[in-house]
């Protein structure tokens, strides 16, 4: 019984710690992608897309695949965008990244 209690306590402690750490990492990824996309050129969008795709494993382990795929699609569209479309793409990506960033963030809105 004692062993089970220790395991249970360890799980209860580790889950929020792991969650907080992963939340921090996802925030970092979103910041990196946002920085790339704010540069506003095809090359930077391409770098942002590659960076995003290279971290899919961690992202999809916490965030629904739909949200992650939305950002991927927005980055792909941005790579092909020109002129005014670039600014639109930047806003779209910033909005989608904000959704991803706050997906697992515990606040009144997300809990209720």
């Amino acid at each position: 019984m004692k062993f089970k209690v220790i395991v249970a306590c360890a799980i209860i402690i580790c889950i929020p710690l792991a969650g907080a750490f992963l939340q921090f990492k996802i925030g970092q990824y979103c910041d990196t992608v946002l920085e790339y996309s704010l540069e506003g050129n095809e090359e930077s969008f391409s770098q942002a897309r590659d960076f995003w795709l290279s971290h899919q494993n961690i992202l999809t382990s916490l965030i629904t695949h739909e949200e992650v795929d939305n950002v991927t699609l927005a980055l792909e569209r941005a790579c092909a965008a020109e002129g005014e479309e670039l600014e639109e793409s930047q806003r779209e990506i910033a909005g989608l990244l904000e959704i991803v960033r706050n997906f697992d963030h515990p606040d009144i809105r997300s809990i209720f």
């Binding site: 019984m1 089970k4 209690v5 395991v7 249970a8 306590c9 799980i11 209860i12 889950i15 999809t60 382990s61 916490l62 965030i63 629904t64 695949h65 739909e66």
Partner: protein, 226 residues
């Protein structure tokens, strides 16, 4: 198809481990909190199986959390009687000296049909035979019969019972269970002797055999065994 298949296997293993860690195997023995956890675990587990867009962690994390919370709360309630009463409630007496306690039954929101069915399932067909009966915290009915209605025991009849001990399975589907053999203080030579006496040459030809410490056995050989 592959993803739901793999997810289902993973969640199945996680749930088995979680239930084993909780330490209950029968629904009928569960306290209210444990029953809630069991129902929640099955509901939560089905979500990432059915929708592969949802991360697997959204099924695994709630299961682990529920299981851990249940283990911690049950360990705490084991040591604190007030907390235990708060969580599981108190047993309630519903029959006293053969009479139904109407107010207590109403508080429990039970019907008379429920009580009578529970009595019949316990082999009681005359309520006047019951000294007292309680509805326990797990919902089961426990009964104490009146003194004169207790079944007679061998001691009452002054009969000395034959020597017997608990039976242990020593062969199961052809496999010898050595630890049980040791428990009943028997060895492989004794086992061989018994097997041959029952017309079989090898333990692998025995479907089932159990024995007690005094040497009483129940023997069943496999169909088609020599």
């Amino acid at each position: 198809m592959l993803v739901p298949f793999i997810r289902t296997l993973i969640l199945y293993i996680v749930i088995i481990a979680a239930v084993r860690l909780m330490g209950k195997r029968q629904v009928g023995e569960m306290q209210p909190g444990e029953l809630v956890v069991t129902i929640l675990v099955s509901a939560v587990a089905s979500v990432p199986v059915q929708d592969i867009d949802i991360p697997l962690s959204h099924g695994v994390i709630p299961i682990l959390t529920l299981m851990s919370a249940e283990v911690i709360i049950s360990a705490f309630s084991q040591r604190h009687i007030r907390f235990r009463r708060l969580l599981s409630g108190n047993p309630v007496q519903v029959i006293s000296n053969g009479m139904l306690l109407e107010k207590e039954i109403e508080k429990l929101r039970l019907s008379l049909d429920d009580i009578m069915a529970a009595l019949r399932l316990k082999g009681i067909f005359d309520i006047r035979d019951v000294e007292m009966a309680h509805i326990e915290t797990n919902g089961q009915l426990s009964i104490m019969l009146k003194g004169e209605k207790h079944p007679a025991t061998l001691k009452d009849l002054g009969i000395k019972p034959p020597q017997s001990g608990p039976f242990y399975t020593v062969i199961s589907d052809g496999h010898i269970i050595a630890s049980n053999l040791k428990t009943i203080s028997k060895d492989s030579q004794w086992l061989e002797k018994v097997i041959r006496a029952n017309g079989v040459n090898d333990p692998s030809q025995v479907y089932f055999m159990c024995a007690d410490i005094f040497g009483s056995i129940v023997f069943c050989k496999k169909e088609g065994a020599n």
